[in-house]
Amino acid sequence: MFRFFQHHFIPHSSNNHKARALHPQAFLFYILLIFVVQVSLKTIRTTFPHILGFATDISVQNLLDLTNQKRSESGLGNLSLSPTLSAAAANKASDMFSKNYWAHIAPDGKTPWDFITGAGYRYIYAGENLAKNFNDSGGVVSAWMDSPTHKDNLLKKEYQEVGFAVVNGTLNGEETTLVVQFFGSSNSSTAPQEQVNILPTQQPQPTVIAQVLPTSIPLPIASNISPTTIAPTQVIISIIPRKEGGTNIRIASAQNIPLFNITTVSKITSLALIGFLLVVLGVDGIFIWRRRTIRVSGHNFAHMLFLVALIGIVYITGTGAIL
């Protein structure tokens, strides 16, 4: 047992003064192992998505409750859920997936306000927040609150209504859950109105663009646009009664809770291998340094720095992004 350990992990005459676990053959074995593990994970994910998959638990109701909770904490009034804004948000999400972009303005120049007015919402004030890659509703709202510009948008006193779309799909080759949040203050009159659009930006204050839209633009009726027909994948649609009574509000949720989260499994397996290599390199380096062995080899310290950088990269992968 000791000889096995010594041969594989400690520089010794039996392994040409370099831990066997650091020989080129061992590295080839690790690369093959990574390949096999990755193929296996993909196969399990495809065949048994309830066992291994993307864990997502984001619901419109939770997003609405958390948004209103943050507004209440700041002494602001609650926002009511607007089916028209939700339809506009669903259209925006669908557009992002179909045209494969992650931005407030579409590659063809379509703005969030085009989606809002396109859904039939006549606004005085309107705003947009975007999020992707979050596992739960709390994470989304917390990230928005941590960003000054998104927070400004979320806590704007002029807003009266909000609409959400939560859609799973593939964006830029990455499977993700996209959250679109549209804010608005509607105007029921048909007279021309000055409209204000607000996007979160990197500046301390959000950019405000005032526009006057011609009233002659024909606006589609919101009820003709259904989130169910445009969601790319895995969208669970539930219908809750509107609090004011009358019509129902369609809300979309992305809820998928497999036994094992693929993101966590990928990260843990990667970190385990990196950790193992760091330990072996560290032990090997200490023995070589203490014995002052001269050998033809790369620098363990350089490899260890490289592996520490890998840990940093693995750590920041798959974390939620907001825009």
Binding site: G173, E174, I313
Partner: protein, 86 residues
Amino acid sequence: MLKDIHFHLTHYFFLLSILSLGIISYFFLSPYPEKQYAAVIITAILYIIWGIAHHLLEGDLHIKIVVEYILIALLSIMLLRGVIFR
């Protein structure tokens, strides 16, 4: 001795710069997994170049060393490919 320390400090400063740049690029490219993957490949290639240059200037460059750096770079690319496109 001092010259030796200066030599290593300079080289490791370069290595740290390469790795820091790799992590920062990766972070800011987070909405674009394909570009993140490209950043990983570029960082890994720069690591191989650093290894070759360092051992060349140190005077102990050998094919075994080049293979070692290439294998570690390949391992990192494979590993992060799985994490990015999980």
